[in-house]
Subunit: 127 residues, 2 copies
DNA sequence: CTTTATTGATTACAGTTGTAGTCTATGTGT
DNA sequence: ACACATAGACTACAACTGTAATCAATAAAG
């Protein structure tokens, strides 16, 4: 198995818009990022290139432009990042993390019912 | 209010052992880290120095040695990091994060009952 | 007192990151 | 055909990181 690619913060933003919808040309990526970030066109292209080198993105040539697409799934990435985050900051226990989060970002009623549903589901599968 | 200090991964490990118990001399920090990491003494001292410069650690002189201690609370740090993590990777929603975590690191029965307790508590405070 | 060990301070140095600018080849308008 | 625009490739460069080694001051040991 291959080593986890290190994706920097700025690179992540680029990857994120490609997860939302792909494949996309660099210009599409640039314009979608314009809504959120204030990055120069060249900056985004550098990031795209770095992500390709890191084998996080792939591309196909379409005439003179490239069509970029993610090589790793968002779900896989977020799962691994979450596991390592929780492990580092909370000794691997999610509850304290949720507790701290709840205490700072007050949860909505909907969050709570979603969590309850999640727990119920877990209990049905593990009993 | 001051800007969030950026704490690197290696720096975090040093801060972490100081959160566990402080104040401590550099040698104490070094020896506690030896159990986990394989870092040269000089490396740890560099990291201590950087954390002091970043105003994450403070110290008092004790004869020729320094006694280091954290200037920021673990709770404050983890809360902020969690908020920004959840915001970046899960659009601010904890449930999908917990779901992904559950699906990868199967939760223990205890985790589940802790989560239920947390929810119950929330419901009592917010109704 | 003089040598030695130790502590923090300073310096080193390559790789990564944020943030672009320049170069080169190719498509486009006239 | 020819000048210009444009895409990606390559280059730039300072700050931050990981990972130490060297320097300078001082305490400890003989």
């Amino acid at each position: 198995m291959s080593d986890k690619p290190e994706i920097s913060n700025a690179e992540f933003e680029v990857l994120d818009v490609l997860w939302d919808d792909h494949p996309a040309t660099s210009n599409e990526v640039i314009s979608r990022l314009n809504d959120k970030k204030d990055w120069h066109e060249k900056t985004v292209k550098t990031l795209l290139g770095r992500l390709v080198k890191k084998e996080v993105l792939g591309f196909e040539k379409q005439q003179r432009q490239y069509l970029y697409y993610p090589l790793i799934a968002r779900e896989d990435y977020t799962k691994k990042e979450t596991a390592s985050f929780v492990s580092r900051l909370f000794k691997g226990k999610i509850t304290p993390m949720v507790a701290g989060f709840a205490n700072q970002n007050s949860l909505s009623k909907q969050d709570i019912s979603e969590l309850k549903a999640l727990i119920k589901e877990w209990e049905q599968n593990n009993d």
